[in-house]
Amino acid sequence: MVESTSRAVVGVFTYMDDALEAVKNVKAANLDWRMYSPVPRHEIEEVTFPQKSPVRLVSFACALTGCASGWALAILCSLDWPMRTSAKNIASIPAFFVPGYEWTILFGGLGTLFAIFAFCKIPSVVRAAGYDPRFSHDKFGVVVACSAGQVTDVTKRLQTAGADEVDVRDSL
């Protein structure tokens, strides 16, 4: 995030390459910006967010926790209530593979869900200024936060990139 700002300049684009050009322009000017698109695409990621998402680390950590928990549950419960079946060990490793396996997936999946919530900042009741319902339909959007004095420059940058329309709103 950059300095505190008071205006949001919203550029609406029909073409994805125009929107990406606008992102490159505002990035070069070191402005605070956000891009909206109706669909995720690699071309957009390459320009807007080339780093790897940390979601995978959360998933991995949760999956390991689940694996350890599944095995621990089965082993500790069996030791607490030792029930000898035929000549099988109380802690039957092959049989306990199933709880361990299932909980690896269960904890990993739930961890991934919480990672989405945390990194995507959802659920959110805040209405993002600059968001336009057309961004979930067929338009791309680039929203730039700037001070009142920068509005003209930012508007020009978005129009030069090929924005269909540019609108100025209160803040990002």
Binding site: A74, K121, F135
Partner: protein, 460 residues
């Protein structure tokens, strides 16, 4: 009637068309939808009444008696878990393999998975007779310091099915979020605006959200893929871990997994054909998709047929008189019609799909898919009933009479499943908006820079 391939002269599908076509499905329902919903509710009421009657009057009403301890309810359980399977295959496994035909059908398949697991999960509870003791399956601290037996395949089932439901429901809901946001942005009524406003969780399609979302979605697919293999393998161990003739076989896990995918894809076809017709989705769900699903059915039919043959061969080769008798009894015994019905529906009839024109013949596929589902129910009937009626000692052999309570609960299960599907298709996008857009070429001022491919509608 064979449908013609999508003409290349037609205008390409656009982002706007995808939104408008799919969201049109959410418009206020007509008489047909209400009729369907009330039919499902009627069947559900029959099932619920029978279940309450069984609880009131006793488990003897279920028709189960020595030697059949596992009857229709466990058959239904395995059947519905099997139906659930292909949803995860289509949504997760085919996602990892980047199969282009999955996009228009996967949402419906996922919904089918979640609702089928919800249906399947009822049956072990109904089968308990006293469903309020279902809690005892859970490993929770209790006064007597008792824990469930972790070496029992029945407890493995609890872990497998509950994990499967949780993960498939999560995967399903996460996939829905951006599409619900699209519905929110185009909602017209106050009710719809509130419904989608709340359930879209404030999703805004920002580049940061998409980055984490796509990473997470891939991981979900990676987690869900081993579930496809594990869940029905664990279900098959309910049988294979015992020594009952006809059950004690190492081929059961792959045999069950293939059978589950076979029946699940058939159920997807059964559901998607009327949906495509009713909501005019012909430009999104093309003959290309039916052709691909038919090939999947053909392949899994081959695996299932091979498994049936292997069972017979193993019984003969084992020189075990009980196994040999069981596999003689199935085609020529008391329930021969179930065996030959299964063989026709699962092994013989699907072979017609080798004919290319039949793979895109919609009425034929609809009929075939229903036959396959009947065949797969009969397969579970053969495994469970036939093996239990003829175990080891002739003195312990017995027969089985279906009770009207069992039939009512079976019908009720279809009502329960149908009710959820009917509600879902009218309130949430049952075709994935974002994923269909992903396979379209993006709008570019400088053509040729996008990496999209027009699988939808191109019919290739």
């Amino acid at each position: 009637m064979e449908e013609k391939h999508h003409s290349k002269k037609e205008a390409p599908v656009t982002y706007a068309e995808v939104n408008d076509t799919i969201l049109k499905m959410l418009e206020p329902p007509g008489t047909g939808w209400y009729l369907l919903l009330f039919t499902c509710l009627f069947f559900l009421a029959i099932g619920a009444s029978c279940w309450f009657y069984q609880m009131w009057s006793g488990f003897g009403e279920s028709g189960k008696s020595h030697p059949i301890g596992w009857g229709t309810y466990i058959t239904n359980f395995v059947f519905w878990v099997g139906i659930a399977h292909s949803g995860t295959l289509i949504s997760a496994v085919l996602y990892l393999f980047r199969a282009a035909f999955r996009q228009p059908i996967y949402r419906l398949a996922e919904a089918m998975t979640v609702f089928a697991v919800m249906t399947a999960g009822l049956f072990p509870i109904i089968h308990l007779g006293r469903p309020w003791y279902a809690l005892w399956l859970m490993p929770y601290p209790n006064q007597r310091a008792l824990w469930p037996n972790f070496r029992s395949p029945l407890l493995w089932d609890v872990f497998a099915v509950s994990t499967y439901f949780t993960i498939s429901a999560t995967f399903f809901i996460v996939g829905l979020i951006p599409d619900i946001a699209a519905a929110r942005d185009q909602a017209k009524t106050r009710f719809r605006k509130t419904l989608y406003g709340v359930t879209s969780l404030g999703w805004r399609n920002s580049h940061i959200q998409w980055k984490h979302y796509t990473a997470a979605y891939l991981i979900f697919a990676a987690f869900a893929t081993p579930l496809v293999v594990s869940v029905h393998s664990v279900v098959s161990w309910d049988f294979a871990m015992s020594i009952v003739p006809g059950w004690h076989a190492t081929i059961f896990p792959p045999y069950f997994v293939a059978g589950a995918i076979f029946s699940g894809v058939a159920m997807v076809i059964t559901l998607i054909i009327p949906l495509r017709k009713a909501f005019k989705l012909e430009r999104l769900i093309t003959p290309f998709h039916f052709d691909a699903m038919s090939k999947l059915i053909l392949m899994t039919s081959g695996v299932v047929t091979y498994s049936y043959i292997t069972e017979f061969y193993t019984a003969w080769f084992s020189n075990n008189p009980y196994e040999r008798f069981q596999f003689w009894f199935r085609p020529f015994g008391e329930f021969w019609i179930a065996f030959w019905g299964m063989t026709f529906c699962n092994c013989i009839f699907p072979q017609l799909l080798w004919v290319k024109s039949l793979r895109t013949n919609i009425p034929f596929l609809f009929v075939l898919s229903i036959f396959i589902n009947i065949g797969m129910w009969l397969e579970r009937f053969n495994i469970i009933f036939q093996s239990l009626t003829r175990e080891f000692i002739p003195a312990a052999w017995g027969g089985y009479n279906f009770s009207w309570v069992e039939v009512g609960i079976t019908v009720g299960a279809f009502g329960w499943f149908g009710m959820w599907m009917t509600l879902f298709i009218k309130f949430f996008p049952s075709v994935a908006i974002v994923e269909i857009k992903e396979i379209l070429p993006p709008p570019m001022r400088n053509e040729g820079h996008g990496h999209g491919h027009a699988a939808v509608g191109a019919g290739h």
